[in-house]
């Protein structure tokens, strides 16, 4: 090496040091969060996806309005070691005491492994997966959102002229099947000949396939479409463009299609999250397991759009009122599946309550009226 190069290197080093010092001096130190409660929200996708993550972000926005609370948000955190590091970083670097890791897949093994490491931190997970053998500083909540899909179905049954409804679904898992079945049962209350054609896209976020599915359904004569995918945006926009009507999911997509949007099944995190945060700040015990529907305030219905008739509004409101009063069971025998087999016996009721019904949780059939098949 020549002397010249070494001296240049020294100069560069000096410049870097100086820049570092200047950097440190110009910025204020991190503010102390002594009196405030710090709450962290973690999303698996973008916080503005018009779907699952936006519903949670709306809940976080409601928490932000509370006094003495600071909200931290991180989006696009995958279900692997990244969520572990995000949780630890929120706790260790930002002193968060209450976390809402909102994706279903964060629970096992990530939250289950973190909770024992930080016994003073509370983990509130969306999914309803807690069992008594799991750490006590974890809470897991979930809503029977298929109640709202049932109301969607009633509105769809009134609105559809062809009697052909469409459902764009991600995976044939129990939560999705509950929605498809509840929607179809709702529609057939109004129009016993109504059918729901279902297309599974295979994964939670497949925008191109979702658009193809919506187009294909409408090509087959479907005039009301609904869905269960992470971001309903594409399906809503495609349906509206093709002149079909649409029932939303996760949060309201009315802004994307003000004319075509009939109503929608929404999470009510804007109510639940401030409630949980208040309980946490007061030192009240939070539930480890919390399930419910309209009655418990976990879900809500989007306001009706302009295409919804007076009769439809009346019937839908009546069913919603009965659900809110806890006097309405959707899966009430006898129910046949779409191969003619009886799946819920006469007199049997799959009740949506905090005491979960095993048959409801493990749902593995499509009711009569659904056009489509499950992989065997």
């Amino acid at each position: 090496m020549t002397e010249q190069t070494i001296s240049r290197r020294r100069v560069l080093g000096g410049v870097a040091l100086g820049a570092g010092a200047a950097l440190g001096a110009t910025l204020p130190l991190r503010p102390a969060f002594a009196a405030t409660t710090i709450v962290g929200f973690i999303y698996v996708g973008p916080h503005d996806d018009f779907g699952y993550n936006q519903a949670h972000a709306q809940g976080a926005a409601a928490v932000k309005k509370m006094a003495s609370v600071k909200v931290l948000e991180e989006e696009n955190v995958p279900e692997d070691v990244a969520v572990t590091k995000t949780m630890e970083s929120m706790i260790e670097q930002d002193a968060a005491s209450l976390l809402f890791p909102t994706s279903f897949g964060y629970f096992n093994p990530y939250i289950l492994r973190e909770a024992p490491k930080f016994p003073k931190v509370r983990f509130e997970h969306c999914g309803g997966l807690w069992t008594p053998k799991d750490p006590k500083n974890i809470g897991s909540y979930f809503g029977y959102i298929f109640e709202a899909q049932h109301v969607n179905g009633i509105v769809a049954g009134f609105t559809s002229k062809s009697g052909k409804l469409g459902f764009v679904a991600a995976k044939p898992i129990p939560q999705v099947l509950q929605n498809i079945n509840a929607f179809t049962l709702g529609a057939r209350l109004i129009n016993p000949k109504a059918t729901t054609r279902v297309i599974f896209t295979g994964d939670w976020s497949m925008p191109v396939k979702e658009a193809e599915a919506a187009n294909s359904l409408i090509d087959q004569g479907v005039d009301v479409v609904t869905m269960h995918v992470d971001s309903p945006k594409v399906v809503v926009q495609t349906a509206a463009k093709r002149g079909a009507s649409v029932c939303g999911y996760h949060c309201s997509q009315a802004a994307l299609a003000p004319e075509a949007y009939l109503t929608g099944a929404e999470w009510n995190w804007t109510d639940l999250y401030p409630k949980f945060v208040t309980m946490w700040m007061k030192g009240e015990p939070l539930p480890n397991f919390y399930r419910g529907g309209f009655k418990e305030g976990l879900i809500k219905q989007s306001p009706y759009g302009p295409r919804v008739s007076e009769a439809a509004r009346k019937k839908a409101d009546a069913v919603k009122a009965a659900l809110t009063a806890g006097k309405y069971v959707i899966f009430k025998g006898p129910i046949h599946d779409n191969t003619g087999k009886i799946v819920v016996a006469s007199g049997q009721e799959l009740i949506q309550s905090n005491a979960t019904d095993a048959k409801l949780e493990e749902m593995n059939f499509l009711v009569n009226g659904v056009l489509g098949a499950l992989p065997s």
Binding site: M1, T2, Q4, T5, R8, R9, L23, G24, T26, L27, G40, P46, L72, E73, E74, E75, N76, V77, P78, E79, D80, V81, A82, K85, T86, E88, S89, M90, E92, Q93, D94, F104, G105, P109, G127, K171, P172, I173, P174, Q175, G202, D203, E361, E362, P375
Partner: protein
Amino acid sequence: MVDETASTLIRPPPAGHGDAAAIASNAAAVVAAPGPRPRRGFAAGGTAIEAVLVPAGALILSLLLFGVFVACAGVNPLAVYRYMVEGSVGSWFSVQNTLTRAAPLLLTGLCTALPAQAGLMIIGNEGAFVMGGLAAAMAGVALHGAPAPLALAAMTLAGTAAGAVWIAFAGGLRHWRGVNETISSLLLNYIAIAILNQLVEGPFRDPRSLNKPSSPSIGYDHMIDSIPGTEIHWGLVVGIVVCIAAYVLIRHTTIGFATRIAGGNLRAARMVGLPIGWLVMLTCALGGAAAGLAGMIELAAVQERASADLVTGYGYTGILVAFLARQNPLAIIPVAMLLGGIGASGGLLQRHLGLPDAATVVLQGIIFVMILASDAVYGRLPWFKRADAAA
């Protein structure tokens, strides 16, 4: 890099073996043929200082450009730099966060960098990663009751073998059928993900995984531990060792030398009688094995059961790592740590400055373009020329 296209690869050996005139004319053709662009820095000459300072300069320029970008978004660039330092190396926690994120990238980077030595452009890293994780899960579940060392050995073998076969398939298609390996390895990613989903939602599903289809667990006692005194799993050490081994293989063995000849000038390699097909298959298999090993470690150190979550994106980031490292296995180590650090600090940028997650992707993109563009200045900076002459 793949200047010699598939057509030359599948061309039969020069006609008239043993015919002196033919050989002479072929040799003349080789000499006359415009060879691939000479590779500077790592492969050819260039001083060590140049090889460090040029990418470092590109990096600093990238950070300045990123500062302009965030300033346009209304965020103070100085605050951004400060949180980036704090989030990536500012504390022991941050350092561990960075290294944990770097660990899989060390191995997935090799999946592009090793075949590149033989002149192949493989981008099937994600597929090899997924197949490695899936095969390891199958071995792990099958050996659930076996002693831990046996189970881990079987999982390692299954993971590396699956990754090796996956990428060697793309290499074989290229060598014997003339199929473009970039396209085929990219498409193999989708096939791997489809196989994973089909299996964990079907025959390989744990029936208790109701709403998140997953395989059965490999068992908590069979999982890879952390390095003592840290929260970083052993995958980091494995990755560094494999990168060094790959460097030695490429730079200091006859096989590596032969591979680089094949990658540099295919016709010359053919003329001197190198076993091209064998070298292509070997580098592809080794690259695939590295990505498969990364998948196995992801499963055995982090995820515990196979599910759609095995599609982590580490494979795709590995392509970026290999290019930033200019296909040098040794340079993959600092580059993987750099990208790990960017990932680790991304959270702080989101939480404290309200920058979207996409900001870190923008930074990665700027760095990628700057490093590639900096290739053009090698050998053209007057200082280094003089240093070169003096040395």
